[in-house]
Symmetry: C2
Subunit: 331 residues, 2 copies
């Protein structure tokens, strides 16, 4: 895989996004127009949501998949705005669940305007996502988007249901497959489908999107433990303190001594305990961060391999580099 | 208007629903099939949601409108399940906002499984509503449903934004027009449209649905203050204690003496105060319950008048009686 040479992730992304830079501007415009309200305070809240729009990973995946597999079309811009809106809605609702106060160095909606406003603004965004999606000629995308949000919700429900309890690596992977990889997979699938790509390319890109999403979420969960707050731009260590086991802690539990396991589970089983940094020492003792990153790298490799059937193109090169970028985001 | 002769509202409804009783069973079946999950705990939560399904007012409106204006079609059953699912999603999220513990004599999802599960289950229901809607051949209904949920969300956001502050009757009516009447109006509109009714009938039924929704919400807000908990089956007096002004309190504020106004606003401006029954005495002093019911009756009359262009039919008779029932629900 190509090494990303810069330390600044936004710089690296702007390089990878080169083939779709104009398209992303169109998507941002469609996004902003769709969520505009006649109520000024709603627009203020939407302005905050706009500030969470960092990587625009999902629209980028959709557009790059379209470019790599077929021909750009206006539907791709619309659908890219749809998937970003779906993602933003999940972020706004996630922040309620995680009791998070900060996202991308901005206050979360729940911190800014209360949990009630956050519930409703998430609903507003998801409603507008479907509204925008239903502006397309056929029902195909709407059906696929809704089937995917069904799956995302089940993943989130499952994660919430298993909070505070032991979790196997297989269960964890099933949760992130539903809550994260299903949406990244859909992005690539819709990008390919609406660019008129042949079925083999659609399948290849769907597989790429699944593996990329898995890699992305594992790294996200690692960053939740060891990231620098200034770089990640959101509250850190929340998963563990909220009783959510993720790849690093699951690996640690499987390899730590009995005493450490007891201490970890006593924190996990109680809601909103502060682990006060002890977690990091435990994870280091079992080499669990290193293990988790190796799992993420395996998924990123699978993502790259899935692209083999596609012809060479700038967009394909970017998709390959994006897999690399996903696992090499600075910790 | 025909007087509903029975004191038992469910008995009265079963009479009014006579023209669509078989259709409602089909709708229930579609509803249950759509939200079925492979995850048993999700099905358990959905079972609780099913217990909130009382009046099935929205599917009934859609089906009766279809029968009154045109010919029944399978799309009407699907759409009736869609609007009920949208409504259930708003109930589940509303209960979080209202910190309610009881609905239709059953625990709320937030009381049963926590606010997190309630946020996610509401999302799951809305996602399935759009999923079901996208099974229809054309995008028309999906577009109209999403445009309406945009409006419902804005209404809820506006209500939440104005909590704890003074509110004019006009502002209140604007909020309930968005959050409640827009959906009942859509039910009647879609029922008429998908029964192949002429434009004049669609307009008439849309107007009926709007007025009926207004009447229904005003009565709901009256029942929140003066209803019997055993009959209403949910936590009472929550609106006022949560700082939400509704028709009775708005009227009271406009007609009470200065001291009472001061006492009311001191309760409204503080989150989650208990008014401990004082409210009822204030409302009686200004005759505000009576005034609110007269407003509801005016909307119910408008609803009935809107039906004038439709030919006589059992379904039309039921729609007329439904307007009557809405304002005469036992207090």
């Amino acid at each position: 895989m190509t090494q990303v040479r810069t330390e600044d992730p936004s710089l690296a992304l702007s390089e990878l996004y080169q083939p779709i830079v104009g398209d992303l501007s169109v998507v941002e415009h469609i996004f902003d127009e769709e969520i505009r309200s006649a109520l000024p305070f709603v627009n203020d809240l939407c302005g905050t949501v706009r500030s969470y729009r960092g990587k625009m990973l999902r629209p980028a995946l959709l557009l790059l998949a379209g470019k790599a597999a077929g021909t750009m079309s206006p539907e791709l811009h619309t659908l890219a705005a749809v998937v970003e809106m779906v993602h933003m809605a999940t972020l706004v609702h996630d922040d309620i669940l995680d009791e998070a106060t900060e996202r991308r160095k901005n206050p979360t909606i729940c911190a800014l305007a209360g949990n009630e406003a956050a519930v409703l603004l998430g609903d507003y965004l998801i409603s507008h996502a479907y509204h925008l999606c239903s502006s397309l000629d056929s029902q195909y995308a709407a059906r696929r988007v809704a089937a995917t949000t069904n799956t995302v919700c089940e993943g989130e429900l499952l994660q919430n249901y298993r909070r505070g309890a032991d979790l196997s690596e297989a269960d964890y992977l099933e949760i992130i497959r539903r809550k994260t990889a299903s949406l990244t997979s859909l992005c690539c699938e819709l990008g390919a489908t609406y660019s008129g790509a042949p079925d083999a390319s659609v399948s290849a890109l769907r597989a790429y999107g699944t593996s990329l999403g898995m890699a992305f979420q594992v790294v996200d969960d690692v960053l939740d433990v060891v990231g620098e707050r200034a770089k990640v731009g959101k509250t850190l260590g929340r998963d563990f303190d909220l009783g959510k086991l993720t790849m690093p802690t699951i690996h640690c539990l499987a390899h730590a001594d009995e005493e450490t396991v007891g201490q970890i589970m006593s924190i996990v089983s109680v809601e909103s305990t502060r682990s006060n940094g002890k977690l990091l020492r435990w994870l280091e003792a079992t080499d669990s961060i290193h293990y988790s990153r190796s799992v993420a790298e395996r998924f990123a490799d699978e993502a790259v391999q899935a692209l083999a059937p596609l012809p060479t193109s700038d967009a394909k090169t970017s998709l390959i580099a994006l897999a690399e970028f996903t696992v090499r985001r600075p910790l």
